[in-house]
Amino acid sequence: MNASTIIFYLLAATIIGGGLMAVTSRKIFRSAVYLLFSLIGIAGLYFYLDYEFIAAVQIIVYVGGIVVLIIFSIFLTHGSGEDMKRPHLGRAVFSALAAAFGCMLTMYFINQQTFIVTGTQVTEPSAANIGAQMLSTTKYGYILPFEVVSMLLLAAMIGCIVIAIKIKLPPVKVPVLLDDENVIVVHEEIVIENIETV
């Protein structure tokens, strides 16, 4: 057992342990922090495989973006330090059984499978190679998905703003009738808060 093996098993333990704690912890903030550890472990796995660019993207987008977003939304929607409800026992047991059997079945099939290595020479996964193929318009270029995904990001951004924005209605100016004793007569269906007397 050399150092590389030990590093792999440490990373795997970080990923699996963080993931398990993230789905079982009853404090939601701790759950988010365990998810953070799991994602950092995955970035470490990419570094381990010498895919530095994708590891950097993983850290920037997931650790720096999505987890921070999740923590913000936890602050906006939860009181501090309350426990979440325990899942129903029957549902927890059956979900655990389903996940465990699915996991075992998949691992069994992976073990049966023989994979054939086709790549002989190695393309370096450097940022230069990635950028050249990503923006290439030739046969194996990825320029069309690149443009489509940029449109998707724009649509998602506008959609988020539209969904989450708080609309403040401007005050509606309606003519108000005054009766003999100067009491305002308002129709019942008019919303009272938005009325400004004129």
């Binding site: 590389s4 093996t5 792999f8 795997a12 699996i16 993931g19 993230a22 789905v23 079982t24 939601i28 759950s31 998810l35 799991s38 994602l39 995955i42 796995l45 990419y46 381990y48 495989l49 010498d50 895919y51 994708i54 993983q58 987008v61 997931y62 999740i70 913000f72 939304s73 929607t77 979440m84 409800k85 899942p87 979900s95 655990a96 389903a98 996940a99 699915g102 691992m107 992976i110 994979f115 054939i116 290595v117 086709t118 020479q121 190695v122 393309t123 996964p125 990635i130 193929q133 990503m134 995904v149 998707l152 990001l153 998602a156 959609g159 988020c160 703003i161 969904i163 989450a164 708080k166």
Partner: protein, 104 residues
């Protein structure tokens, strides 16, 4: 890196995927369900990178799939959190069992 092969990565990713499935089935809170979905997407990314590294080292296609999955996961998380915040504003809860206004 001689004795760590493709199977090790596939086993890690398989375990992570089913941890995410377990969380998605048991959690009743929208934010924690979103976190489970992130775990599932990350396990898929590990698969793509491992296949690209060990089987198709002459190409970069698995890496591009991973980049696009990360992008779309970011968009999905942003939209989901916008929906969660809007839901909380209207219902004062994000428990999926109490938000049933469209069910009946």
């Amino acid at each position: 890196m001689n004795d760590i092969g493709l199977f090790h990565f596939l086993f890690v990713s398989c375990a992570l995927f089913f941890i995410g499935v377990y969380g998605f089935l048991t959690r009743r809170n929208l934010i924690t369900m979103l976190m489970s979905v992130e775990l599932i997407l990350n396990s898929v990314n590990i698969n793509f990178i491992a296949f690209n590294k060990f089987l198709y080292a002459d190409k970069l296609d698995g890496l591009f799939f991973t980049i696009f999955i990360i992008t779309i996961a970011a968009a999905e998380a942003a939209v989901a959190i916008a929906i969660i915040i809007n839901l909380y504003r209207n219902h004062k809860t994000i428990d999926v069992e109490e938000v049933d206004a469209m069910k009946y």
